[in-house]
Every structure is written in C-alpha cells, then in structure tokens.
C-alpha cells in the first residue's frame, strides 16, 4: 500500500508505525515486530511457521538449519566446540585486522612496531595478547572438537568427508598459528620458524627439500623475503583457504545433521535428519538465543583471561647470529620436536607427521565397525587414548626438560633469569630487586616478600642441582645487584662449586633490567582499564568540546 493511502487510512502515527514495522520485517527477512515479540515471549509459531522465512529469504541464516534434534542441543553432547572454533576464528580475524594497522612486515620495522604497539597504542598490548591467546585457544579447541567427534564416532558414515575436511581445517589452524609466529620478528619467532622451515628441507630427494625451503623462505635464510611470505600466508592465503574449507565442512554438517547420541538410534542407522516433530528445537528463537548468550559468556571470559592471566611473550629482536638457550617450538609442535630429538630428520620431521596426517584423514575409511556406541568400540577408543598418551609423552620430550640440559650452573641462572622470556627475576620487577650482594649460603632478613621468593627459588634450584649432579659440590650462588645507571640495574649471577675431583668451578652471567621494562609486574588491570579509560575519556570529551 502506498504511503499516502496509509496515512489516509491510519493517520500519520499509524502510518509511521506501519512503515517501521515494514522496515523491521525487511531487516529480519520476514519477521515482523509482533512475531518477534511472540518469539521472545516463548510462544509457538503460527502455521505456516513464519519463523522459517529468515532461513529461506535471508542470507545470514540460509546456511543454518531451521531446527535441530533436541538431543544434539544438549551442551554435553557437543560442548559447542565447533561453534567455539568458529567464534575464535572470528576473534582472530577482527583482532588480526586491527593489529595490521600498526604493523609493517619488514625486518627493519616489525620489531619496533611491536614495541610501539605495546607501549604507545591504547589497547595495543590487549589486542596482541588476545590475538595470541585466541590463536592458542583455537588450536586447543579445534583439537578437542576432533577428540569429541572421535569419541562419539561421529566420523562414521555418512560423515566421512566431514571428518576429512575437519582434519584439513586442523592442519590449516596449525599452519595459521605457526605462520603468525614469525611476524613479531623476535628471537622466539625467528628460531621457531627457522627450525620449522628447516624440517621441510628433510623432504627427499635433497633438491625437493631445498626447493620447498627456498619457496617458503624466499631466500636461503629467513630475512625480509621470508617475513613477507609468512605475513602473506598468515593474513591472506591461509585464512582464505580456511574460510573455503570451513564452508565445505559446515555445509556437510548441516547437510547430514549433527550425529545423535549413539544410544538414541539403531546401530548402522543415521536418523539425524529425520527429526520427529515433537523433538524439533527451532533455530529461531531457541538455538539462536542459546548460541548468542553462550558467545557472550565466552567473550567475557576471553577478555578476562586476556587482561588478568595472559601476556603474549616478546623476546629480544631476532638475531641470526645467536640461538638462545632452550629454543622450543610452539607447544602444539612439542611432539614434533620430541620426535626430532630421538630420530632422523626425515623420519621424524617428514615421514611420521605425513603418515600421521594421512592416518587421521583416513580413519573413517579404515574403521569398518558400523557401531558408534562406546561399548562396541573398545579397540578404537583404547587406540585413541594410547595415541593421545603417546602425543603427550612426545610433547614432554619436546620440552627442554628432556635431553637439552646444560651444565648445572647454566641451568640455575636460566631458571631464575632466562636468556629470553621473563623468569622470576624479571617478573617481580625492578623495584623488588634491592641493591646488594645476596648469597645462597647466608640467611637474610628481607622484608620484601617478592624478593624473598626469588632468593628462595635461587636457593632451591642451587640445592636441586647439588643433589642431582655429583660433579657439582658445595655450590654457592651469589647475586650482585648494582645500580649501573639511573633507572638501570645490573644483575650479576655468579655460581661457584667444586667438581668430583675437588677442583673449583666458576660461572658468571650478567643481565641488565630497566625500570620501565614491561613484564608481568607492570601490566595490571589498573594500568589497562583505569589508565586507558581515563585517557580515552579525556581525549573523547576533549574532542567533543572542540579542544
């Protein structure tokens, strides 16, 4: 009906209300205000169900199923892990795009940009921490998602290909996370990626391995070209590929439906798509409200974790001339590093991961057992648990705990003040490090609780190696803290000992710590919220009054 007719019939206010209702209906692709409120009030839909319209006419919901089986909407069936992975991918995309604003992928600038981001940009550190935490959480959640599907046998027919694309998504998640590793251009980044890419070198024959490596690094060594290539992989190529496979994966999920709990259907049957009318839970409004409220809680949790409990590490600027002690891969590749310690580069670095990947993808095609019930799948479940245990053991072998122990004195200093990363000394911070000479063979009456903790740790670790190593007798640790310059303290760690033959040994290592160093201690909620919010308010209110 035309506007003029409307006004004639309903008056101006009535016409405006009708127009508003019309706009609302268009925006929601078919739900008017009355229906919207009836939906929120928990009333049943009319017939035909008007709430199906947004699925058929709107773009955003066309991929979502119109209803679910009641049993799969139970939280403990899926734990919403797939939704959570998608959510984390969106978080990564948003924080990633924002981080790109203050970042240029060149060795001359990348590290300085990181420092500026951490020190000069409001919410810079917050976004970086959240991006990093989100990336690691995504790896974990995607893996858990896979474990859940394995344990419930959800990969069985007809969902073999869904599982296959899921494994591809896991691989892409790992590569996405790993390719982002190089971008800060610090020691952590440089050496993790150097090790990672050199694994590709083990692909036989040698010429192939070398070529793969050259293509990845853009040069024999990682430099400007390598950084640019990893950057493009990270921000463009891998995300696009992941989005493509995500839609393939999700289309399959919707197409076949989420598998029901195994006890609810006959062995060999798949009734996920034949939902009896009384078991239907419609997406609008129940599942939608459920999912958004779940996301709100998760979002809050992610923000709290980022602010209070997580700090993305930033080590010294990349130095190709010096490999730091205890260089490790990211935790999700510890298992690979563990294998590399005990086996040949080709076997551990290429063959085994390759075989593992193919096996993982082929599980649904190899497993001929038609039953998804736990009691019929003892072999599969035990095999899965054994595989998980092996991964955990290999991962432990990947840590410096296993077979990378240096001399006791070196390890002691590495423990209290590592070459890279924070360690207890840097964590307690500049102002908790009183000047003086502190020896492990003497007792001190120190009132500073934090420094006391450091002295105890120093004592304990010296004592640990005294007991563990017969060549390390009567050790004394001496920490000398002096003020070298204003705002700069010098920490000199000295360890003396006698070996089994009674010969004296001595080891010294010196670090400097600046008053403004940003380690955990300097980074609290007070700084983040009160500081930034008040600054932000000042600048905003200033802008509003035209200052």
């Amino acid at each position: 009906m035309g506007l003029q007719d409307n006004i004639r019939e309903k008056g101006v206010l009535g016409a405006v209300a009708a127009q508003a209702d019309d706009v609302f209906t268009r925006l929601t692709a078919g739900i008017d205000v009355g229906e919207f409120r009836r939906m929120l009030q928990g009333e049943p839909p009319g017939r035909p169900n008007p709430r199906l319209k947004p699925h058929s006419e709107g773009f955003l919901l066309h991929i979502k199923p119109t209803y679910y089986h009641e049993s799969v909407t139970r939280f403990t069936h899926t734990f919403r892990l797939g939704l959570l992975s998608t959510y984390l991918f969106i978080v990564e995309t948003i924080t990633g795009i924002l981080l790109m604003i203050w970042y240029a992928p060149s060795p001359e600038r990348a590290y300085t940009d990181m420092i500026l981001l951490l020190t000069n940009i409001p919410f810079g550190q917050f976004l970086r921490d959240m991006h990093r935490l989100g990336a690691e959480a995504m790896v974990a959640i995607v893996t858990l998602h896979m474990v859940r599907c394995y344990l419930t046998g959800s990969y069985k027919p007809p969902r073999q290909f869904t599982w296959f694309t899921g494994v591809l998504l896991l691989v892409m998640t790992l590569f996405l996370s790993f390719s982002g590793y190089l971008l800060p251009w610090d020691q952590l980044a440089f050496w993790a990626v150097t090790i990672g890419t050199s694994m590709a070198e083990a692909v036989p024959p040698a010429v192939v391995g070398e070529t793969v490596n050259l293509l990845a690094r853009g040069a024999p060594d990682i430099g400007a070209n390598g950084l640019l290539r990893f950057y493009l992989l990270h921000v463009l190529f891998l995300p696009l590929l992941l989005i493509l496979f995500f839609f393939v994966h999700y289309y399959k999920v919707v197409h076949f439906g989420i598998s029901l709990p195994a006890d609810e259907e006959e062995v060999g049957e798949d009734t996920a798509n034949r939902v009896p009318a009384d078991k239907r839970v419609y997406y609008l409004p129940d599942v939608l409200v459920d999912e958004t409220s779940f996301m709100t809680v998760i979002n809050t949790l992610l923000i709290l974790l980022t602010v209070f409990f997580f700090q993305a590490p930033l080590e010294h600027i990349a130095n190709p001339q010096s490999t730091p002690l205890h260089t490790v891969a990211p935790w999700y590749f510890y298992w690979l590093q563990g294998m590399l310690k005990i086996a040949d580069k080709f076997i551990a670095g290429v063959l085994m991961p390759g075989v593992l990947l193919v096996l993982l993808m082929a599980i649904p095609y190899l497993d001929y057992n038609p039953s998804r019930r736990g009691k019929d799948r003892k072999v599969a479940i035990v095999a899965g648990i054994v595989a998980g245990a092996v991964m955990i053991i290999l991962s432990w072998m990947g840590t410096p705990e296993y077979a990378v122990q240096g001399a006791p004195a070196v390890e002691i200093v590495q423990d209290v003040m590592p070459e890279e990363g924070s360690g207890l000394s840097r964590e307690i911070g500049y102002k908790h490090l009183p000047l003086g000479i502190w020896r492990t063979d003497e007792e001190y009456d120190v009132h500073d609780h934090e420094f006391n903790e450091l002295l105890h740790e120093f004592n304990d670790v010296v004592d640990f190696y005294r007991r563990a190593d017969p060549d390390f007798n009567a050790p004394i640790g001496i920490l000398t803290i002096s003020q070298d310059q204003p705002s700069l303290k010098r920490l000199n760690w000295e360890i003396t000992w006698f070996d089994a033959q009674g010969e004296a040994g001595n080891y010294e290592k010196t670090f400097w710590l600046h008053e403004d160093s940003i380690y955990w201690e300097q980074y609290g909620w007070k700084h983040l919220f009160l500081g930034y919010v008040s600054d932000g308010w000042k600048s905003l209110s200033g802008a509003l009054v035209g200052e």
């Binding site: 205000v33 009355g34 229906e35 409120r37 009836r38 929120l40 009030q41 928990g42 009333e43 049943p44 839909p45 009319g46 009641e70 909407t73 924002l98 604003i101 500026l116 000069n120 940009i121 409001p122 919410f123 810079g124 917050f126 976004l127 009384d278 239907r280 839970v281 419609y282 409004p285 129940d286 409200v289 958004t292 409220s293 709100t296 979002n299 809050t300 930034y532 600054d535 932000g536 600048s539 905003l540």
Partner: protein, 224 residues
C-alpha cells in the same frame, strides 16, 4: 527450556495455552523469557559499543616522541636555557624555547600573521632582544608579547609539561588575562614540550608590550 519443551509440558499437564498462538502478544506485559533475551541483547550491545570505543582509541593516530605533533623531551630543568639568555630554536618541534622570568615557554615559530597565507617563521633578533617576522615585520618581545606590526595577536605557545617522578607537576595554562608558564619545582624535574597542544596568543590589543598606550586595553576591563 525451549519453546517446544515448554509447549509440550503444558500439553502434558493439559494446561490450556495462555493465548492463541500468533495473536495479540504485543499488547501483553513483557514475560521473563523476553526480558532475559533483552538482557542478553543489551549485554552484547554494551560489549559492541565498548569494542567500538576501544577500536577508536586504537586507531587514533599517535605522534612519536620528538617528532612534531608529539611530545619533545627537553631534559631536566637544568637543561633549559638560562633565564635572560637567548632563546633556543627547536627546528623539529617548530618552536622557540625561552626561559623567561615567569618560567619556561615554547613559542610556535610560525608568525601569527602569516598563518593565513602560509607558515612563515619568525626569527630572533639578538641585538634588539626581540622576535621579528621576516615577512610582515611584526615584532614580539622575549615573553612573546606583541610589540608592533600587522600580526593580529601575540605569539602562540605550546604547552610545556613539568614532570616530577611519573606525575605532571605543572603545565602551561591559559587564564583569562594571561598565559601562565609552569612552575619548575626542582632542578631534576623533567621538561616536556607537547606540540599537540597549542595555546593561541592574546589579541594584540591586550599585549602588555604594546607601543602607543592609547590603544592599550587593560584585560578584564571590557568584561567588567
């Protein structure tokens, strides 16, 4: 509980439905379910708004220290030119740093007259102890006050911050009658010139150094 579970329960208990489906919901009171949904939606909206404000701050351009538009670190108070000595030119910061009897001041080195036509920089005339604009010929005193010439006002000043410890102790302030230079409490206090904040000089009629006192208007008289 989902809508459908709710309905089924009602059917099981043979409770009559409160209303016919699809009719008249908009005229009834807000139910608990509806209210809860609004609370969720409100929480999401607040989160989105918060993210928007954070993103605005994150995107807002910043100026690095010691580049024009940012803060210039002059050093400790002892690094200031002595009171009565020649002004120091800071080319990058586009200001003249002067230590006057009333305190340190940083004058924008652009003549107020030429702002309309382009950034012409005035110079220091050591012989006559004043600033001269080489283009329009306006003269200003060491304190930045207008003396004579076509410029419309006294020299513009950047805000100087005096920092003790980690706190701003004092900074240049504009009062109705004059621009107050910050107090320097101790020789160790750090001096910063914030080139993002400029205070315009007073109109030439208000200048205490004005030639021809007949034109001079005592500030405050007009308003009084």
């Amino acid at each position: 509980m989902t809508v459908h579970q709710d309905l089924r329960r009602q059917q099981d208990w043979e409770v009559p439905l409160p209303v016919q489906p699809g009719k008249g919901a908009e005229h009834r009171e807000t139910s608990r379910r509806e209210l809860l949904t609004y609370v969720w939606a409100g929480t999401l909206a607040v989160m989105t708004l918060g993210s928007g404000i954070a993103a605005y701050q994150f995107l807002y351009p910043y100026h690095r220290a010691n580049t024009f538009g940012g803060k210039f670190y002059i050093g400790a108070a002892t690094d200031l030119p002595l009171v009565g000595s020649e002004p120091q030119a800071n080319v990058d910061g586009r200001f003249w740093l002067v230590n006057t009897e009333t305190g340190p001041r940083a004058f924008s080195n652009i003549c107020p007259r030429s702002l309309a036509t382009g950034p012409v920089k005035f110079t220091w005339d050591a012989d006559r102890n004043r600033f001269d604009c080489p283009v329009c010929g306006t003269k200003f005193s060491r304190e930045g006050h207008y003396i004579e010439g076509p410029a419309p006002r006294s020299l513009d000043q950047f805000v100087i911050e005096v920092v003790t410890g980690h706190k701003v102790f004092a900074k240049t302030k504009r009062l109705p009658e004059e621009i107050i230079a910050p107090v320097v409490p101790s020789p160790e206090a750090k001096i910063l010139v914030d080139t993002s904040k400029i205070i315009e000089g007073f109109a030439r009629m208000d200048s205490p150094a004005l030639r021809g006192s007949s034109l001079k208007v005592v500030p405050g008289e007009l308003s009084a």
